[in-house]
Amino acid sequence: MITKTSFQGKLTKTKDLFIPFVVAGDPTPELTIEFALRLQEAGADVLELGVPYSDPLADGPTIQRAAKRALDSGMSLRKAIELVPQLRKRGVEIPVVIFTYYNPVMQLGHDEFFAMLSENGAEGVLVPDLPFEESEDFRKQAEENDVEFISLVAPNSDQRIQRIAEKAKGFLYCVSTLGVTGERNEMSKEVLTFIEKVKEYSPVPVAVGFGISTNEHVKLVRGHADGVIIGSKIIRLIENELDGLEKEQTAALDRFTKELHELVK
């Protein structure tokens, strides 16, 4: 079904995608760049760059903590977008998706927002609280600006799945389970049926996120979906090194990389 490349041609793969999520500025903007490099090294195909928000409705405690650390470091939507050229400069080549709640975008203004994305070279955008029905104008503007607007479908999206999937751009974010982001012990079997259904309609790769936190999960999902999105687990790996990062950065980053490889091997 997958017919075309995306992200301004930068994503050519349509299988076995690894899409990690980090929060810009967690714990500092500089370290976000380091993590991005390690993630790319570990095979990341797209980077979700999260913008920290005061009221992250869709996120569990792990990402809430990361957002708090990032806000404390002074991060904002504007600064997160401006981090993209710095990522490029340091060698991050994979497409970057700006992940942000809607309110900061609204305050910036749609025009300014898309102008900034273009100017700074971000290839995609994901707004977790801007569902299909509320996003028509926004999607149009994204398309006009050649920015991929990432849509989400959930197990209870029901008859809306087709509608959402058919219009998907970049990749389709398949929420594996009801609930907020966060690690989970079990992946339900039903999620596989759900993925199959989504794939029927999606013109773009179907990536699965929410709760993917072990190598077993990764392997299970890979067998059915076109990609995995990993957020909370990666943030937890970062969190584990927070002390280390202050003392011996390289060693800490190496430990992070090792754990990361274990996760996505």
């Binding site: 928000y53 005061s54 009221d55 992250p56 409705l57 869709a58 996120d59 569990g60 405690p61 809430q64 806000l71 904002s76 939507l77 504007r78 709640y101 809607y102 309110n103 900061p104 975008v105 609204m106 305050q107 910036l108 977790p128 609280d129 801007l130 569902p131 299909f132 029905e133 509320e134 989400l152 479908v153 959930a154 209870n156 999206s157 029901d158 809306r160 959402i164 929420v175 009801l178 609930g179 907020v180």
Partner: protein, 388 residues
């Protein structure tokens, strides 16, 4: 799902299904005369409606201006208008076959109302409450537990209402299949603002009928306090097409020129909060800021989207009243009428009192007394002990 530019459903995809399910059930219920009848029956037989419309004779005399009437929502079971909505939603939850409800609460009033209807209708009830609020509102926490509800402490953010609401929504996202989320005000994603307004419009409908009976005309001005704004929407809605001047009163806290206030319309800007596009208090980066008011019920950084529309269209005039002005009004009403109002309601009183003297003696004022002050005694003791 819009009120002009405002409202909508700015929620994670996972909630779109549940919200549609809710909307369908709601529409069906509101079209079912039996449901409407049951709702009104419970309001009357259990909640104590109709609430009185009291003429404040001593107060009118003292202010020497317009005739002042009070709509006595303080006489509702559990002491505030909150119950009207909780009854409506609990009945809807039962109709939808949801045996578990969740609710957010700040000071605990909506939590108590939710725990109350949960007990009454045999539903399980989880109330999300910020840790800081739990500490400040020990008595209401106990009350909810006594009613059989589980109080879930929320430590994220500052541990207040905004965070409790976030957490309730998050919990709902994960448990929407068998849980009904009972929102306490005209906020949140569609269809909540409309639903809650419809469950609260009984205030305005009753007031209109009662006022016509007593005065054979409509009031010249109607005042109601606005936090999330459910008591005000419930009061105003049936009067929107009439001539009555409508005045919503926000909390100016320590002053709208200080950072410590909760005057969302007066000082906020449009944005998205708790799933709805409306006015809110935020910083230049779109991060939601923490509001302040002496009144725990007005201490909310957003406001119902229908208010945002009424503000924009200027159909309702919005004013802001400081802590001190509200306290002074509370004292005045207490001393002249023997009614201790909730500090929330005292904001509406304060604005009305400011204006009443300048009005004609033939004019009439209707103030929505949204709740009683019993819950505020600890705060009042702290602030007023030396004065009384």
């Amino acid at each position: 799902g819009r009120f002009g530019d405002f409202g909508g459903k700015y929620v994670p995809e996972t909630l779109m299904g549940p919200l549609q399910e809710l909307e369908d059930a709601l529409n069906e219920a509101m079209d079912d005369p039996q449901f409407i009848e049951e709702y009104h029956h419970v309001l009357e037989e259990y909640g104590g409606r109709p609430t009185a419309l009291s003429f404040a004779g001593q107060l009118t005399k003292q202010l020497d201006g317009a005739k002042i009437y009070l709509k006595r929502e303080d006489l509702n079971h559990t002491g505030a208008h909150k119950l009207n909505n909780a009854i409506g939603q609990a009945l809807l939850a039962k109709r939808m076959g949801k045996e578990k409800i969740i609710a957010e609460t700040g000071a605990g009033q909506h939590g108590v109302a939710s725990a109350t209807v949960a007990a009454k209708f045999g539903l399980a009830c989880k109330v999300f409450m910020g840790e800081e609020d739990i500490r400040r509102q020990e008595l209401n926490v106990f009350r909810m537990k006594l009613l059989g509800a589980e109080v879930i402490p929320v430590s994220s953010g500052n541990g207040t209402l905004k965070d409790a609401t976030n957490e309730a929504i998050r919990y709902w996202v994960a448990n929407c299949e068998d849980h009904f989320y009972l929102i306490g005000s005209v906020v949140g994603p569609h269809p909540y603002p409309k639903m809650v307004r419809n469950f609260q419009r009984v205030i305005g409908d009753e007031s209109k009928r009662q006022f016509l009976e007593v005065e054979d005309r409509l009031p010249n001005r109607i005042y109601a306090c606005v936090g999330g704004g459910s008591n005000a929407m419930g009061m105003f809605y049936p009067f929107l097409e009439d001539d009555a001047e409508l005045v919503g009163v926000e909390a100016a806290g320590k002053g709208i020129d200080t950072p410590e206030h909760a005057a969302t319309l007066s000082k906020g800007t449009p944005g998205v909060i708790h799933g709805s596009l409306t006015y809110l208090m935020q910083d230049e980066n779109g991060q939601i800021t923490e509001p302040y008011s002496i009144s725990a019920g007005l201490d909310y950084p957003g406001i119902g989207p229908e208010h945002a529309q009424l503000f924009q269209s200027k159909r309702v005039r919005y004013e802001a009243v400081t802590d001190q002005e509200a306290l002074d009004a509370l004292k005045l009403l207490t001393e002249t009428e023997g009614i201790i109002p909730a500090i929330e309601s005292a904001h509406a009183l304060a604005q009305a009192f400011k204006e009443a003297g300048g009005m004609d003696k033939e004019d009439t004022i209707l103030i929505n007394l949204s709740g009683r002050g019993d819950k505020d005694m600890a705060t009042l003791m702290q602030r007023l002990e030396e004065e009384v």
